[in-house]
Amino acid sequence: MIDVENLTKRYGSITAISGISFTVARGEVVGFLGPNGAGKSTTMRILTGFFPASSGTARIDGHEVHQHPIEVKRRVGYMPERVPLYDEMTVLGFLRFVAQVKGVGGGGRKEAIERAMEHCGLTDMRRRQIGNLSKGYRQRVGLAQALLGAPPVLILDEPTAGLDPKQIVEIRELISALRGEHTVLISTHILPEVAMVCDRAIIIHQGKVVAEDRIDRLTGGGGAESLEKVFIEVIARGTETPV
């Protein structure tokens, strides 16, 4: 579903990612890990067509992201990092706008919005202004807009960053519920989360993929704690021997 080949992005003299390749199969939930500044957000922004790569190709459902931006954007629900939202709008007004733009049909639009709000626990907040919402609810609005239109691919950039433990559990359950229907790529640096919700993990460091495998194989069946060990290990290795 997501095919990334040799993706490189340079900002002036800084290379954010260099030669990243990976694939995500249909219906998979994949964790995209790495320390701060590893290039997670950059990769996701290229995949969602926010900006183009310097070189390399990225395909979503067979469509090259730079050549067929509209086809790609129709298939991707994206929740950007830090969840930028239109603060002056109400939750309902904002979701209506997104639904309209995503072409959620006239008759089914209302239901689709209701479903997205219910899914994300926003039904009671529908009339509230987004600017007045707490961080947790903003995050949910970001997730709800990504889910609208039932896109086959979801790209979520740190969906649980800055939430309290209860909210993290809720969001995590929500993402787990998406399994099967959607292909999901989640970036995070909260490792237990990955061990719980993801089938597979891709670890990147300094703009390169340093490890990629199924969670159980990465950890050798050791669960969350050993994932932490693996993470620290591959990153340390990656730093010592630049490929």
């Binding site: 340079r10 730079h66 991707v76 994206y78 930028p84 239109y86 002056e88 706008f97 309209q100 733009v101």
Partner: protein
């Protein structure tokens, strides 16, 4: 079309979900209303004793009161346009919502036209204020309908031109205040250079001692600069039209002016594809 409409609705509503839309309309209503009252009183004083003010007879109502007031309203928009347009793109960049907007299935033209139409929607609301004043005039005195119609169109076209410049500047900026200030600076330069150009001599006063070739070159460059200064002032094409004299070149001037800056906005938004 559907998406342009969605963007338009969101943008236009945003003006009135924050105080900015109300403040702009209130300021416009107050200042245009004051100018209306003052120039109407002035006209009344002149028409009571035209001789004392240097007029042989009572001056023409449309020509000496209504049209200048309409052009004034158009010029007033010059001061308010930066406030309307500075947020269009700069605010999206600043808040990060540009990332949302550019990753939704929207084409550049849907975003740009939606936003531009929303700013023109603000203009239409401002024109409602003008329409109220014009209704009062129509009730006080018989006015030529052509002046009313083309006068309103003049104000609209002037406003649309100001807004197109403002949108382009906003599309290149991240900070709203910078965007507004630069927009206003551009208007002021155009306005002042238009005023200066009226006092410039028609021919370049080249010193006799200059060689022929230099004189000719200077004359050509001078001619171009002078013409540009005259033409780029946005109010230059307004006066005749506001008097009900419709000329294709005046309308074409405004339409091309807007089209040019909308075109630049397209290029500016596209620059994300090649900028590092």
């Amino acid at each position: 079309m559907r998406n342009t409409w969605a963007v338009f609705r969101r943008e236009f509503a945003a003006y009135f979900q924050t105080p900015i839309g109300y403040v702009i309309c209130a300021v416009f209503a107050a200042i245009s209303g004051m100018a209306f009252t003052l120039s109407l009183l002035n006209y009344a004083r002149i028409s009571q004793a035209p001789g004392m003010h240097g007029y042989p007879t009572v001056p023409d109502f449309e020509e000496s009161f209504l049209s200048p007031w309409l052009v004034f309203c158009g010029s007033l928009i010059m001061f308010l346009a930066p406030l309307v347009t500075m947020r269009l793109f700069a605010e999206e960049r600043h808040r990060g919502t540009i990332e949302l907007l550019l990753t939704l299935p929207l084409r550049d033209r849907e975003i740009i036209f939606g936003k531009y139409l929303a700013s023109l929607g603000m203009l239409a609301v401002m024109l409602l204020v003008v329409a109220i004043d014009l209704t009062i005039v129509g009730w006080l005195a018989p006015v030529e309908p052509a002046v009313l119609l083309f006068g309103t169109i003049t104000v609209f076209l002037m406003g649309a031109s100001f807004f197109s410049v403002g949108m382009f500047i906003s599309s290149t900026m991240r900070n709203q205040v910078t965007s507004g200030t630069i927009t206003f600076g551009i208007f002021l330069v155009l306005f002042v250079s238009g005023a200066i150009s009226e006092d410039l001599p028609a021919q370049y006063p080249a010193p006799e001692a200059w060689p022929q070739a230099l004189k000719m070159a200077a004359a050509i460059i001078y001619g171009i600069v002078r013409n540009l200064m005259q033409e780029m002032a946005i109010d230059a094409h307004a006066e005749q039209m506001a008097q009900g004299v419709l000329q294709i070149r005046d309308i074409a001037y405004y339409v091309l002016f807007c089209a040019f800056f909308v075109f630049l906005t397209f290029r500016s938004l596209e620059s994300r594809h090649w900028r590092g």
